[in-house]
């Protein structure tokens, strides 16, 4: 701390070099920092009264007199006459002895000594004489004055020096040197005038700056005035303070707080003056007043001197710089001298060190270290680490920007705020948001962080463009490539890659502030999740209306080149369907209230993650609220064959929070649904949704009319308002908001039913659909199935066939044309022994003993590519039927008809039991929805499917339940 003081002057000089408009800084921590409270004293009021002289004012020696009285060096009854101090009156020797003895704190001893003498001698002196006697006899006893000292007449300056010296030596000897080298004295012009007896005293008194004379003359024999005497006592300073256990402090009043406690018949009020000291710590000077039931009041205050004005602590104002005297033992404040208002300033320099223990910060400035004290509140310790507040943010001291510039904000040279400045700016760069980019005309409109719009020009060929795509995180975008362009690969960008909504850093052309020299951009994107409600296809793009999970809807344009994927794989825009849940990566920016620019950069489509897995019908039994189950009796699941899988009771999970309950067209709450329909005959239709933690209810619809299920049929017209017409049913069918519409697995509304859809409809009430299930029309007509004779295989590439027959319906049509089909790793080869392999992995070759030359295969082709090669017999017999049971490796058919190859008629097996079993194996060609179903996935066949079975062997005797081997099974 001492070092700091030594530097102070220099610092102040340095500060002037960096002038800054001086704001008024708030000392934010004044009430936060640890502090010590000094209360006022009860005697302060009386002292203020006695220190208030009419003839002193603000002039010398008023402060010394008030200080003397407040600190007890001068007697409270020092007035010569009423309210006058008479500073220019000479002092008598007796007065000098009395004053100095009192200042040394010897009054008590002196009056005791006086009383003792009076008793011994039997004298009856006046009160004043008794006081004088006590002081002078005690002074003689203690050797402060010689026994022969003349107590009358005016005192000379050298006598005062001597008495003072002797008194201090008697009370606290350490302050003066009893055998000094006479340096001060011999510098005087009039040293010869000093009585040799007093030389040592004068030397000490001068050395301690208590009495100086005018520097050249001490005037030892001149008289001493009362004012001078007050000043001398004031100059005693630390000697006086030490003797009395006082301490002088200086600081700035930074905050004033107060309070009052009101009780019956008693009021306490107090006011705290928070003082910031030079070393950064805090003292509180407290005024308080207690008013008791009896008239007596206790006021604890301190004498305050404010340029001639004498009063209590209430004279203090925020920003006063004060000197004050506190008694450490009693924690009391005795006297405050207001010096001036606080000086505020700031200084900028290189941060060199910050010492949390010493609470100092060191700046380096012109090669010189300058140390400043910090206010306590700037530094905190958390979890063993020290933090400092810089720009109002807590920063670890260990990682401060040492070596960089900071600005310190000072009050009376104590740091109250630190702010980061950094290093000199070398490159002119700024940040903005692109509103418009027009490469054709070479300009760009931007908005800066302050919301100002401005445009900048550029020359596309002469500028550097970098655009970090949202998928690129590799280091090849690193800046080193810009500094050393020969280093490695950098993606090249052109100015056309910068799109509205991008955040950019711009480097202007030197000397041309409105021309871009280099630009670096990143997309300002956010993920948007939602369900596609509407798709509108345009020539080169499509618009989708997205309903977000919070119910907000927004249109988004999907440009032709937007990357779209589903289940992790790229897909075409045409594969996106209404009802799909999608994740959009949207570059969006608000450019004005209500005006947002956005562009979709990428779209991801969910798989079947939120498809409607099942539609259940039943009656509501109840709810298990605690475990989140809806309980349904007579529960059945919708399938192609109608309502199946009967359960007496099914529990369905309602653990999700987005379930919609309907009664006919009206949305109702769950509680209303339970109240109205629990154990009622009302039919409840429930849509279940896939969920990562199991199937969940997503829509519940109650209806009370009679149900009728229509056969699956084709929609031939829709009115755009939820009504539609089926091919084979007369009259319109309507939907309402309670209708469950499943379209290719997705839950949609009645508005999303289009002509051409293949729909299974469950009516509830005349012409009102409760459930509509739109699926692909069962069809296998697009499957190209051939029997072909192989003549040559080019391994892994293709094979040639000499001739082939193509299956149309149940007829093989021969064509004697040689053809070639491509094969690849995805072409499956299915052997009769159950082997399933990629054709590349199978022995599909035309050499060695395993040659397939001249063998006939059943192949499925997609244009000129073979997708499946079945090593199977020729299936020339046909049968039809409807699946009523599916077992492992076998389906059972009812309503069987078998083609008679002779008559070409379709015959039944039996009227009573017209059934048959079809065995399937891994080389059975199963076709459904224009695709080959692998044998292992034969569960995809459904009860109710109508199938064409091709086989090579139908027993001559047709018996009910007979088994045949299915070589080709097509659902149509």
């Amino acid at each position: 701390m001492k070092i700091f003081r030594r530097f102070l002057a220099f610092v102040l000089a340095a500060l002037m070099v960096l002038p800054l408009a001086t704001p008024v800084f708030a000392d934010d921590f004044i009430l936060v920092d640890a502090n010590r409270t000094f209360t006022g004293r009860a005697e302060a009021e009386a002292l203020m009264e006695s220190a208030n002289f009419d003839d002193l004012g603000a002039n010398w020696p008023a402060e010394a007199v008030v200080r003397g009285i407040a600190l007890g060096a001068l007697s409270g009854d020092a007035a010569v006459d009423f309210r006058n101090f008479r500073p220019n009156d000479n002092m008598t020797r007796q007065e000098v002895v009395n004053t100095i003895m009192r200042a040394m704190g010897l009054s008590g001893q002196a009056s005791a000594r006086g009383a003792e003498l009076v008793q011994q001698t039997g004298m009856w002196p006046t009160a004043q004489a008794m006081v004088d006697l006590g002081y002078s006899v005690l002074a003689m006893d203690m050797g402060i004055i010689p026994a022969d000292f003349m107590l009358w007449g005016n005192a000379s300056r050298q006598e005062v020096a001597s008495i003072l010296y002797n008194a201090v030596m008697a009370v606290a000897s350490g302050h003066f040197n009893a055998a000094p080298a006479l340096v001060q004295v011999y510098n005087l012009a009039d040293w010869r005038d000093i009585d040799p007896l007093y030389l040592i005293a004068v030397e000490n008194i001068m050395a301690a700056n208590i009495m100086r004379g005018d520097g050249l003359y001490f005037s030892p024999r001149n008289n001493v005035t009362r004012g001078e005497m007050a000043q001398v006592l004031s100059n005693l300073d630390t000697i006086f303070l030490d003797i009395h256990g006082l301490e002088r402090r200086t600081g700035t009043v930074a905050e004033i707080t107060g309070g009052e406690l009101v009780q019956t018949g008693q009021t306490q009020s107090w006011q705290n003056f928070h003082v910031r000291l030079g070393d950064g710590s805090v003292d509180i000077l407290q005024f308080s007043e207690n008013i008791y039931p009896s008239p007596q009041a206790e006021v604890l205050d301190a004498v305050v001197f404010n340029f001639g004005q004498i009063g209590g602590l209430e004279l203090l104002e925020i920003n006063h710089t004060i000197e004050y005297f506190v008694h450490l033992e009693t924690n009391t404040v005795w006297y405050v001298n207001i010096l001036h208002y606080a000086v505020e300033d700031s200084v900028e320099g290189q941060l060199f060190a910050l010492d949390a223990a010493e609470m100092t910060v060191t700046l380096r400035f012109n090669g010189q270290n300058l140390i400043f004290s910090l206010v306590d509140g700037l530094v905190t310790t958390l979890g063993g680490n020290n933090y400092v507040l810089m720009d109002q943010i807590r920063e670890n001291i260990a990682t401060l920007p040492f070596g960089q510039n900071v600005r310190l904000y000072l009050r009376n040279n104590v740091v109250i705020q630190i702010s980061f400045v950094g290093m000199p700016v070398l490159v002119d760069e700024f940040r903005g948001l692109v509103l418009e980019n027009n490469p054709d005309f070479g300009y760009m409109v931007l908005m800066n962080a302050a919301g100002q719009r401005f445009s900048m020009r550029y020359y596309s060929q002469e500028m550097m463009v970098q655009r970090l795509s949202h998928w690129d995180h590799g280091w090849f975008n690193s800046y080193i490539g810009q500094i050393f362009p020969t280093f490695g690969f950098r993606p090249t960008n052109t100015i056309g890659d910068i799109v509205p909504g991008d955040i950019v850093f711009i480097r202007p052309e030197a000397g041309e502030a409105a021309v871009i020299s280099a630009i670096s951009a990143i997309s300002n994107y956010i993920m948007r999740y939602g369900r596609i409600v509407t798709i509108v296809h345009h020539e080169d793009h499509m618009s989708i209306l997205l309903e977000r999970e919070d119910g907000q809807t927004a249109w988004h344009e999907i440009m032709g080149n937007t990357f779209i994927r589903a289940e992790g794989r790229p897909i075409a825009a045409g594969a996106v369907r209404v009802g799909d849940w999608v994740r959009l990566l949207v570059n969006e920016a608000v450019i004005a209230p209500g005006h947002m620019i956005s562009s979709v950069r990428e779209m991801a489509v969910e798989g079947d993650a939120r498809h409607i897995s099942n539609i259940v019908r039943g009656n509501l039994v109840g709810i298990n609220a605690m475990q989140n189950f809806l309980q349904i009796e007579h529960a059945q699941v919708l399938s192609q064959a109608g309502w199946t899988n009967f359960n007496d009771i099914r529990q369905l999970s309602i653990a999700n929070n987005n379930i919609a309950y309907y009664y006919n067209n009206r949305r109702i709450t769950r509680d209303e649904a339970l109240r109205q329909f629990r154990l009622s005959p009302a039919t409840v239709y429930i849509a279940l949704e896939n969920h990562f933690a199991g199937e969940r209810v997503t829509m519940v619809s109650f209806r009370t009319q009679r149900e009728e299920r229509l056969p699956a049929d084709t929609v031939i017209a829709s009115d755009g308002g939820g009504g539609f017409q089926l091919a084979s049913i007369a009259g319109p069918i309507n939907t309402d908001s309670g209708t469950i519409v499943r379209r290719h697995g997705r839950l949609v509304s009645g508005l999303d039913i289009f002509p051409g859809d293949h729909a299974s409809v469950v009516l509830n009430g005349a012409g009102m659909a409760a459930v509509i299930d739109i699926t692909n029309r069962p069809d296998t007509s697009a499957l190209q199935i051939m029997r072909a004779r192989v003549t040559r295989v080019w391994d892994g590439e293709s094979f040639r066939v000499a001739s082939m027959s193509q299956l149309f319906g149940h007829n093989w049509v021969f064509s004697p044309v040689e053809r070639e089909f491509a094969i690849d790793s995805r072409t499956m080869y299915l052997g009769p022994d159950g082997s399933v392999n990629s054709v590349l992995d199978a022995n599909f070759i035309t050499y060695t003993e395993e040659t397939v030359f001249d063998q006939v295969f059943t192949i499925v082709t997609d244009g000129s590519r073979a997708t499946h090669i079945f090593e199977a017999a020729f299936a020339n017999r046909a049968a039809r039927g409807t699946i009523y049971a599916i077992e492992d490796g076998q389906v059972r058919l009812r309503d069987v008809t078998i083609q008679n190859p002779v008559t070409n008629r379709w015959d039944i097996i039996s009227i009573a039991n017209n059934t048959m079993a079809v065995n399937l194996s891994s080389n059975t060609l199963i076709g459904r929805d224009n695709a080959v179903v692998p044998f292992a996935a034969m569960q995809q066949l459904q009860i109710g499917d109508e199938v064409l079975v091709m086989t090579n062997n139908i027993p001559a005797a047709r018996t009910p339940g007979m088994e045949i081997n299915g070589l080709i099974v097509l659902v149509d």
Partner: protein, 526 residues
């Protein structure tokens, strides 16, 4: 030295807050092996209170006999294994522990169960990780490696499928997990990576290698917590290879349900109960598999159903508010004890002060309170010397809500009004309320871009300091323009509006947050 007093108090306060966060207990609650457990439930209110009182907020990190499901891939076909998992955390914290770094061990034991494991399928895994961690400010970095005792590698694994038995060869196998946790006031977010190479001895001296790699995402809050792994697996078998993506996920949350009483002659109409529910599921997609499995399903799912726990919440008498616009909001907050005290003093059309709002907010996200702040020092009286440590000149420690306001301040949610004062008893502005609400979620980063414009017609009224956070709150859908496109940032907030806003925050934590960590990840394959 007088300075020391303040620093000690402050230090104690912050340490308490940082260590009271029981987040790490939940990291790895489904293991790191591609399987799922039923998850660690959120504590019910009473349990939480008792735990807080007994352990100062430290929750037990050991979980035993959790139902566990994993897909076994070693023979090329997904085979579901159901069994049990034990997770034992051996924490090195305690005497002499450094708050900034340390180690602990986490042991996972996965065992078949007589009750649920199917015949012919078995998995026994006993693996202990050494976790080294360090803390930098609000972030914690944790790295898991397989522990060793001397030369012994503490990883043993035996897997049996109908096709054979596979025995782990620990010397050839590696397993690493590294996680970063970011502790924000209301939510602790984490993410990390898993990388495993496990080599198994199969029959006939053949080996099977299983590579597992991917990301971990999760968070922990008072109302919900999740952990989701996005994993890619590659199994190299003697007969071929299989590549799959697997997303195991667990989400736990706490919901409110109201139940009305049937008897008329009962002193309260009805009350809320809270329900803790867990949702666990793993969803996989096979990207490539040997041709011999042609036609097998390429997607699959396994779930563990949970049994929900529940507890009644208090039923204060809100008769005077029945029928009010915000009756439901206020009733919920009273039930959750976000608002406490005499309901007659909660007048919905009156203003809400900063202190009231902050207290509600702190209770809403269950900010940990420093016990030292709960017992205020005696108020300064008369001429007794006062020695108080104060954060703000106008924030006195003898306030009854001091602990909440300090928790809000210590968590960095509110920092006063910029004039160095806290103004606890002034009426809160709407923009202040929005900013505080957003900061509780710790998502200020979503507002960071040079966009001074917001979609509100009265955007220009938003104070500069609030722009970023209001931008973030708008982007994440926490707040939105009203019918006129306005936000009214400079208007005061009523108590009813405050109740609605805080309910919105809680609902956001219950649903939106959870969805972003589960369905938004699981349903979209990367």
């Amino acid at each position: 030295m007088k300075r020391k007093i303040s620093i000690t108090i402050f230090l104690a306060a912050l340490l308490a807050i940082i260590f009271a966060t029981p987040a790490f207990a939940r990291v790895g609650q489904i293991g790191f092996f591609g399987g799922i457990t039923e998850g660690v439930r959120l504590p019910l209110t009473t349990e939480q209170m008792i735990a807080d009182a007994n352990t100062g907020g430290q929750s037990d990190a050991n979980f035993r006999n959790m139902f566990y499901t994993e897909i076994i891939w070693l023979d090329g076909m997904p085979t579901e294994f159901e069994g049990l998992m034990n997770m034992t955390v051996n924490n090195a914290r305690g005497r002499g522990a450094n708050p900034n770094f340390g180690t602990r061990t986490v042991r996972y034991e996965i065992l078949p169960s007589d009750i649920i494991t199917a015949d012919g399928v078995s998995l026994e895994r006993d693996i202990t990780f050494t976790v080294t961690w360090r803390r930098e400010g609000n972030q914690v970095i944790e790295t898991y490696t397989v522990a060793r005792t001397g030369a012994r590698i503490r990883w043993a694994e035996t897997i049996t499928t109908p096709d054979g038995t596979f025995e782990l060869i620990p010397e050839l196998s590696h397993f690493e997990v590294s996680i970063i946790r970011d502790i924000t006031p209301g939510v602790t977010y984490y993410s990390g990576n898993i990388s495993m190479r496990a080599v198994y001895a199969a029959a006939d001296g053949e080996t099977v290698i299983h590579y597992l790699t991917g990301k971990i995402y999760g968070y922990v809050s008072a109302w919900s917590a999740t952990e989701t792994h996005r994993l890619d697996g590659l199994v190299i078998m003697p007969t071929g290879e299989i590549h799959y993506s697997n997303v195991p996920s667990v989400a736990v949350s706490k919901e409110l349900q109201y139940s009305l009483n049937e008897p008329t002659l009962i002193s309260f109409f009805g009350n809320y109960r809270e329900i803790t529910t867990n949702q666990s599921g793993l969803n996989f997609v096979i990207n490539t598999m040997p041709a011999e499995f042609y036609g097998r399903p390429t997607t699959g799912r396994a779930t563990i159903s949970s049994f929900n726990r529940f507890e009644q919440l208090i039923a204060p008498n809100l008769n005077h508010l029945r029928g009010h616009f915000a009756y439901q909001d206020i009733r919920r907050l009273f039930a959750m004890e976000v608002i406490t005290g005499n309901p007659n003093h909660f007048v919905p059309n009156q203003a809400v002060s900063r202190a009231e709002f902050m207290t509600m907010l702190a209770r809403a996200v269950k900010l940990p309170l420093d016990p030292a702040h709960l017992t205020p020092p005696p108020p300064p009286r008369g001429n007794r010397p006062v020695q108080i440590f104060q954060i703000f000149p106008d924030l006195w420690p003898d306030r009854p809500d001091y602990a909440y306001l300090r928790a809000i301040n210590d968590a960095g949610i509110a920092q006063g009004r910029g004039d160095g004062h806290f103004h606890p008893d002034q009426i809160i502005y709407r923009e202040e309320a929005y900013v505080l609400t957003l900061r509780v979620l710790g998502l200020s980063n979503l507002g960071l871009d040079p966009m001074p414009m917001l979609p509100y017609v009265d955007s220009y009224r938003i104070s500069a300091w609030a722009l970023n956070d209001i931008n973030a709150a708008t982007r994440i859908g926490l707040i939105a323009p009203d019918e006129d496109g306005m936000l009214h940032p400079q208007e005061y907030l009523t108590k009813a509006q405050a109740a609605a806003l805080i309910n919105r925050l809680i609902e956001y934590m219950r649903h939106e947050l959870i969805r972003d960590y589960t369905e938004n990840i699981i349903n979209f394959m990367n």
